[in-house]
């Protein structure tokens, strides 16, 4: 019992033990000072946190309602912005690598540099047939435009390119080894969680450990939405 007292105490205080487990734990508490102390400390912390619970101010509800109502009356406003961005991308890509291939950061891993360059150039790392089916991004209305297996630097990967009706693009790279993390990356949940790096307007987000999936795109929100859709956040 003492071995998992921490989790059991947390589940007990959160009301997440089954009736049988709850009864056994209550019986155990009567004869175990250590677990009693755990529960006592946990309960004091829980009670303190609960004093912070508050209601949202009424004006906030009104502000949200107003914002959404006005967004509904101009439904294409954001779409127009995306279309403009997509049009700009087409122009830049058509103008080839002159403006878009940005300088690699001083210590950015080669695989990440190649992944971002591949996205910027709208180019997959190889033409070998993928051995695994494409990750499903249909929930985001993203259509698979192409796939290919090859290498990013020394790293073997399979890449899948997607595009939506507004012209927004994503590339999902699936590796058999861990994608190396740039020093400037932002960690979401410690070293086991996802990480994200940005350069020259392109976002690269690696799935949580073992970090073998990388999503690359220009739209920060879309990259995050894709990570949520693929359940890798």
């Amino acid at each position: 019992m003492r071995h998992d007292a921490e989790r059991r105490t947390a589940a007990y205080l959160a009301g997440e033990l089954s009736p049988d487990e709850w009864q056994r734990f209550e019986d155990h508490l009567l004869e175990c000072d250590d677990c009693w102390a755990e529960v006592d400390a946990g309960r004091r912390g829980l009670r303190a946190v609960e004093t912070l619970r508050e209601l949202a101010p009424p004006h906030l509800r009104s502000a949200i309602r107003q914002e959404i109502t006005s967004a509904s009356s101009e439904p294409r406003r954001r779409d127009r912005r995306w279309l403009a961005a997509a049009a700009a991308t087409v122009v830049v890509v058509a103008g080839t690598a002159v403006a878009v291939v940005a300088a690699r950061g001083p210590s950015e891993p080669a695989a990440i540099t190649a992944a971002i360059a591949g996205y910027t150039d709208d180019r997959l790392p190889g033409s070998d047939m993928p051995k695994i089916p494409a990750p499903d991004l249909s929930s985001l209305r993203m259509t698979e435009m192409g796939a290919g297996a090859g290498r990013l630097g020394d790293m073997p990967v399979t890449a899948y390119a997607y595009r939506d009706h507004a012209g927004r693009r994503l590339i999902v790279y699936v590796g058999t080894t861990t994608f190396p993390m740039p020093p400037s990356a932002h960690l979401f949940d410690g070293r086991e969680g996802p990480w994200m790096a940005q350069r020259d307007g392109v976002t690269a987000l690696a799935a949580r450990a073992p970090h073998q999936l990388l999503i690359v795109g220009e739209d920060d929100d879309l990259v995050h939405d894709a990570a949520i859709a693929l359940d890798v956040m």
């Binding site: 105490t9 004091r44 946190v49 619970r53 508050e54 209601l55 949202a56 502000a63 949200i64």
Partner: protein
């Protein structure tokens, strides 16, 4: 029609989102901005696809929006939370009882802000938003047991920090 449906359903969870936003930002004003950003992002996603279960979906969007906000400000949440919490101090019109309660809550806010962000997120999502450990685990991409450990360690640390405050005032 779709946006109205979104409003009707999503606004019933605004207290939950606000409580989460309050713990991820340093002031009421920032929390309100974060809630509005969350709803704007949620509407955009809603137009693409309806979530199966709205509360954890909204909470996940709120957490992601908070991370984007902190990235834009080049600050980590812990640093922001250690900053100004002055809007939570008692107001001039408070009775002595209200003022005392507000000072106690202020001590809890400060103690909570000193916890590692992983513990603070888990505690906020379970204790203030009402999610189960399994739901929080799914949102944060870790196991239920990890969440239970984070919550319990956070509670114990909070109790110790608050005792230090009381001891320091005695």
């Amino acid at each position: 029609m779709g946006d109205d449906e979104f409003l009707q359903e999503a606004l019933t969870h605004v207290d939950m989102v606000y409580n989460l936003a309050r713990r991820m930002t340093s002031s009421r004003e920032d929390a309100e901005d974060l809630v509005q950003e969350t709803y704007a992002r949620a509407l955009k996603a809603w137009r693409r696809e309806r979530p199966r279960h709205m509360p954890p979906w909204l909470a996940t969007i709120c957490l992601n929006a908070a991370r984007s906000l902190h990235r834009r400000r080049k600050n980590r949440p812990a640093e922001v939370l250690h900053g100004g919490l002055l809007d939570d101090l008692p107001a001039a019109g408070d009775t002595s009882e209200q003022a005392l309660a507000e000072l106690e809550r202020d001590a809890v806010r400060r103690a909570l802000a000193r916890l590692p962000v992983e513990q603070r997120e888990a505690i906020s999502l379970m204790d203030l938003c009402g999610f189960t450990a399994a739901q929080v685990g799914k949102m944060l991409g870790v196991s239920r047991n990890t969440i239970l450990s984070r919550v319990h360690r956070g509670h114990k640390r909070l109790a110790v920090l608050l005792e230090e405050v009381v001891g320091g005032e005695a």
